[in-house]
């Protein structure tokens, strides 16, 4: 990347629009910008950062020129602009950042709008604009020079201080990653991490290998084969069902013919059919009469059965009662006197009236006679009880003879009805037989049979057609599934091939990275030491640890892990040596044969880089810078600048001076 120009307009001390055109010639690649203290050298350096990244200089809230700001009328505004023109990879970019400052109508303080970035680029004579989208703009700036890397190439006193801290104390992974990014190693490390995960950048939760492996569908062929077998079985079944349907067509046709035949015959034998129907009606009547006869017979038997005892005894009982009608069954006993009383009198031989008697006399005989009529042997009582029993057995509200007679009459009538029905049947049969036509019953049975056969065949056909439809539907679904599975199978093979590539590329890049990272780091250490030695001859030398941290050592002294303390001049020399070393190695790696390592080269914009060096070292550094960096911009105070010009005279392609006219009014003049 090479800077072509920077234009500032009303930015910090610069009033109006002023431009610096940078030296781009390969031989004369140095631009010197000189100025006294307070003229605005650092402001110009800060204009780069503000334009590219929108970063205000430390402690400054408004970048507008204070003189112009204070003269913004009420209700009006003024614009600050910084424009950088650069070329990278053959494309010319124009990067413009503007910021509007306005004073309110009431005349209060000036307020700023957010700055606005625009990027234009020119390809094949045509100019295009990057979409006005913060993300697009940020990405474009990132591709040109990411903010992360910018501090190595646009640095002022603040950057030098922070870099010194980082180089001497930080030695962090971030620092190492930044260095690797410049050297072109970082993308390889990221690729390794993303492919399969690695110890270089840590194993990510998602990797290409895992992503591809998860997209594999490992459903076995067994399932596929089962589906194919099922389709074959269905197809065989469909053929069989279709054959059956075809056979059923013949059956239906035959049954239809028979139906028509029997129907025709039945129509032709209508009289016979009617006679047959009369016979069937008579047969049904006979059956009904037989049923009625059985019912009446049962009723008759039931009536006789329930009155059988009474029917048997009624006559003798009535005769006995007739005989007892004239017998004096009244009691000859004495009321309330029983046999115990009589026997007592007989034993005492004395009547209750006091008359004494003897055995055998008339009183004794009378008393013995009386024993027959006193309880318990009381004949009158017996007869009375017998009569009562007879009445119970023979008396009933129903007339038994009438009941049995009625039941018998019902039975008899039913028998007659049956005889009559049988006579009717005989007449109907004789009439039917006298017609001597076809047997209609047989015809009707045949018709019903044919109709049933046709119905069954149609039903079976419908079932078969439904089964065929189901089988076809299932086969379609199975074929779709097989199609998908076969597609998946092909997809799986493709993924397996991709995984083979992933593994190979991973192995290749890992091996490549291991070999080259060590080689690049060793080379960087050599180059940094060479530059450091050029700038600062003495006993000090530098080593690089695995995180690219610089350790200062002294030849011949073993101070353990302790770093050697350095002066500010030595520290600055270390930083310069380190940056130049990175640029030098990046230049080499960008020419790497495989193209996998792509170190980027950038211009070096340095604000007061020589202030801490003595005249000898300034000469050394001035000789070194244009040889290593492709483009140098040195912003320097007048006293150091004159010395630098002496040493850089053959490399200076552009020279400017910043003059302070008055406060907030500095002019950039080309020499």
């Amino acid at each position: 990347m090479k800077l072509l120009s920077i234009t500032v307009a009303d930015f910090l001390p610069f009033q109006g629009e002023q431009t610096v055109n940078f030296a781009t010639d390969e031989q004369r690649n140095v631009t010197i910008i000189m100025g006294d203290n307070g003229a605005g050298k650092t402001s110009l350096a800060q204009a780069f950062e503000w334009c590219l990244y929108g970063r205000n200089p430390k402690g400054i809230k408004q970048v507008i020129n204070a003189y112009q700001r204070d003269r913004i009328p009420s209700g009006q505004s003024r614009e600050v602009k910084v424009e950088i023109v650069l070329v990278k990879d053959g494309i010319r970019y124009r990067i413009v950042r503007k910021q509007q400052y306005s004073r309110s109508m009431s005349g209060g303080r000036v307020r700023s709008e957010p700055s606005k970035l625009s990027i234009f680029y020119r390809v094949d004579g045509e100019t295009y604009g990057v979409a006005d989208d913060p993300r697009e703009l940020r990405e474009t700036i990132g591709k040109l020079l990411s903010e992360e890397l910018s501090r190595y190439f646009f640095f002022d006193g603040e950057h030098v201080k922070s870099m010194r801290d980082e180089i001497e104390h930080g030695k962090s992974q971030d620092f190492a990653n930044a260095v690797k990014a410049i050297l072109g190693l970082s993308p390889i490390a990221s690729a390794i991490k993303h492919l399969k995960g690695s110890s270089v950048r840590g194993a990510g939760r998602t990797t290409v290998q895992r992503n591809l492996t998860e997209s594999l569908n490992l459903t076995g062929n067994e399932v596929l084969n089962k589906k194919r077998a099922r389709i074959e079985a269905n197809e065989q079944r469909i053929v069989r069902l279709e054959e059956e349907i075809s056979g059923l067509d013949a059956e239906i046709s035959d049954a239809t013919e028979l139906t028509e035949k029997w129907s025709q015959l039945l129509r032709e034998n209508q009289a016979s059919e009617e006679a047959q129907r009369a016979v069937e009606r008579a047969q049904r009547d006979v059956k009904s009469a037989e049923t009625a006869l059985r019912s009446k017979r049962d009723q008759f038997f039931q009536a006789f059965k329930s009155g059988m005892f009474r029917f048997t005894i009624e006559k003798p009982v009535k005769m006995a009662m007739e005989l007892m009608k004239d017998v004096d069954a009244s009691s000859k006993g004495v009321p309330n006197i029983n046999d115990v009383t009589i026997k007592y009198l007989l034993e005492r031989h004395e009547c209750i009236c006091g008359t004494h008697f003897e055995v055998g006399d008339s009183i004794d005989e009378h008393l013995h006679e009386l024993l027959k009529y006193v309880p318990p042997k009381d004949l009158g009582t017996y007869m009375s009880e017998f009569e009562k029993e007879c009445r119970v057995r023979t008396e009933s509200p129903e007339d038994l003879e009438e009941v049995i007679g009625d039941a018998y009459a019902g039975y008899r009538d039913a028998g007659r009805a049956l005889d009559s029905a049988r006579d009717e049947l005989e007449i109907a049969e004789k009439h039917r037989d006298s017609i001597k036509h076809a047997n209609v019953r047989v015809l009707r049975e045949n018709l019903a049979k044919a109709e049933r056969a046709k119905m069954n065949a149609l039903k079976k056909q419908a079932i078969n057609k439904n089964d065929i439809s189901k089988a076809n539907k299932e086969n379609k679904q199975l074929r779709d599934e097989i199609g998908k599975a076969e597609f998946q199978d092909e997809k799986n093979r493709h993924i397996q091939r991709c995984l083979a590539y992933v593994n190979y590329i991973y192995e290749y890049l890992s091996d490549f990275y291991t070999v080259h990272e060590t080689a690049v780091r060793n080379e960087l250490a050599d180059v940094v030491n060479r530059f450091f030695t050029d700038m600062y001859d003495g006993e000090l030398y530098l080593t690089l640890d695995k995180n690219y941290g610089v350790n200062v050592k002294v030849h011949g002294v073993d101070e353990g892990d302790e770093d050697w303390q350095t002066s500010s001049g030595q520290t600055l020399a270390i930083i310069l040596a380190f940056i130049l070393g990175i640029l030098d190695v990046a230049k080499t790696t960008s020419k790497e044969g495989t193209g996998l390592i792509q170190g980027d080269t950038y211009p070096l914009v340095m604000d007061a880089p020589l202030s801490d060096f003595d005249t000898t070292r300034i000469g050394t550094i001035c000789n070194l810078l244009p040889k290593v960096a492709e483009q140098i911009v040195i912003i320097i105070k007048d006293t150091d600048g004159d010395l630098a010009i002496d040493h850089l005279s053959d490399s200076i392609g552009s020279r400017y001076t910043i003059r302070r006219i008055k406060d907030y009014d500095s002019k950039i003049e080309r020499e």
């Binding site: 990411s146 990221s190 998602t206 493709h494 091996d511 490549f512 495989t594």
Partner: protein, 58 residues
């Protein structure tokens, strides 16, 4: 700068070493672009690379 040792990586069957190297270069370029722009997250980069490999490998 030496490249000794890279031959140690055996090329598996079915992998075209030239195509693989070309693919590796594209992957590294993609990573390089993304490191500058920070446009894609890790998982997005993984998806991007997986798609790239799948479309390149037939």
């Amino acid at each position: 700068m030496s490249t000794d040792g890279l031959e140690r990586v055996r090329v598996p069957e079915g992998v075209d070493a030239t195509k693989a190297l070309r693919l590796a270069k594209r992957i590294v370029d993609q990573e390089s672009d993304n490191e500058k722009t920070m446009r894609l997250s890790d998982s997005q980069m993984v998806n991007r690379l997986a798609s790239m490999i799948q479309s390149e490998v037939k």
